[in-house]
């Protein structure tokens, strides 16, 4: 089954891939902060847009692939910004909120896409209270694709028996997936205990 790993480009050789994770996160925070602080004039946003494109080119990330992923997240935000049009000075607020969020999301995506998930998780561990977050994310990252596979298999099973899944069938499949994965979580826990892990 084909998966779209968020860090698939981290395994390629490119500019951002070579940068240390800590430095990358520092740069990301710095860029987003400066984006928030610059005056609201289009000219100040141009260098950021150029930077995003340069990162894309030198990190060997296909533009269309990148755009699709950014737009998925961005589509949720655009509705919120659209509402601001009806306020006083609304169009201006809309344009600059649009630019700021689009550039920020692009930067976050670029940095995440070019960092191996493991390095990202290791970095999160160093942040206060990051250990728990890192553990949860590492499980999520590990098992998300298995969940996706299982869901696809069940869906194919349904289709192979002549049923074209409708909305209520998806609910049924989700319920089934939950039960299956509850059982899986018990097996994973057993595997952890058998290798010396103890509930703290």
């Amino acid at each position: 089954m084909k998966h779209h790993f968020i860090d698939r480009f981290a395994y390629k050789r490119g500019f951002l891939q070579e940068v240390n994770t800590g430095l990358k996160i520092f740069l990301l925070v710095l860029l987003i902060l400066s984006l928030l602080l610059i005056p609201e004039k289009i000219i100040f946003y141009v260098p950021f847009i150029i930077l995003v494109f340069m990162f894309l080119i030198f990190s060997k990330i296909p533009f269309i692939y990148f755009l699709k992923r950014v737009l998925i997240i961005f589509s949720f935000l655009i509705v919120l910004f659209f509402l601001s049009i009806f306020k006083e000075n609304g169009l201006r607020i809309f344009i600059f909120s649009f630019l700021k969020s689009l550039i920020s999301i692009s930067l976050v995506f670029l940095f995440v896409m070019t960092t191996k998930m493991f390095f990202l998780l290791e970095f999160i561990k160093k942040v206060p209270a990051g250990f728990l977050i890192s553990e949860v994310f590492s499980f999520l990252y590990r098992y998300f694709f298995l969940l996706q596979d299982e869901f696809e298999k069940m869906k194919r099973g349904m289709i192979s028996k002549g049923k074209d899944p409708k909305l209520k069938d998806y609910f049924l499949l989700s319920g089934n997936l939950f039960v299956r994965n509850y059982e899986r979580s018990e097996r994973v826990l057993k595997a952890m205990i058998s290798r010396g892990w103890r509930i703290k």
Binding site: M117, S138, S194, G196
Partner: protein, 223 residues
């Protein structure tokens, strides 16, 4: 065969629901460095027996490891290979999965890298440390699972369907790997060919009871 009893199971019974026994009064002795294969129908209780011996299920009866009643301190002596490797590989990197056991069992951190490399080398996956488990093939996952238990040198290996789902070539390689590990092995399997090939003893379990037992001396005449 040495005569020291490594695993002793006495009157072991287990039920998931009240009155519905999956294992009934099991008595079994496994000697040091012996390989015992447990065969039986689906749902006959093979995996449950292994889980009970590993102390992963609560049961009635007694399990002794090296003459001592099972306790958490004895866990280090046992390695459990799960049927589905995805259940046993839960870390984001192969390195961390293989290092998981040694770290929990208190191995020195400076030795971990060497241990992981050696374990992966033993299963023929040297250089896989930085790989992500879900990028691996099923056969590779099985081998990483095996590496993750041999990394802390358990004296007892409990293997649940080790050859299930493997291609004939991978199966052959995996059997050789298991054969070359020096440990007391208890294997739950449907693979009769493997059982005959590597088992010193084959135990048939049916409806939660041990029904029959064959020794190598007997079946080696025929196969």
């Amino acid at each position: 065969m040495e005569n020291k009893i490594k695993i002793e199971v006495k009157n072991l019974s287990f039920c998931y629901e009240e009155e519905k026994y999956v294992l009934k009064n099991i008595n079994l002795k496994v000697y040091e460095n012996e390989t015992v294969c447990i065969i039986g129908e689906n749902g006959s209780g093979k995996t449950t027996l292994l889980l009970c011996i590993a102390g992963l299920l609560k049961y009635k009866g007694e399990v002794k490891i090296d003459g001592e009643i099972f306790s958490e301190d004895l866990r280090k002596k046992m390695g459990f290979l799960f049927e589905n490797p995805d259940d046993a590989l839960f870390m984001p990197r192969v390195f961390d999965d293989v290092a998981f056991g040694p770290r929990n069992f208190g191995f020195e951190e400076k030795r971990i890298k060497e241990i992981v490399e050696n374990s992966l080398e033993k299963v023929g996956l040297y250089g896989f440390e930085e790989r992500v488990p879900h990028h691996l093939s099923f056969g590779e996952k099985k081998r990483v699972s095996l590496a993750s238990i041999i990394s802390y040198n358990p004296e007892i290996l409990l293997l649940d369907e080790p050859t299930l789902g493997l291609s004939p070539l991978s199966r052959g390689n995996f059997i050789n790997l298991i054969k070359n590990i020096r440990a007391t092995k208890l294997i739950a399997t449907h693979d009769l060919e493997m059982a005959i090939q590597i088992g010193d003893r084959i135990v048939l379990i049916d409806e939660g009871e041990i029904k029959k037992e064959w020794r190598r001396e007997l079946y080696s005449i025929f196969f």
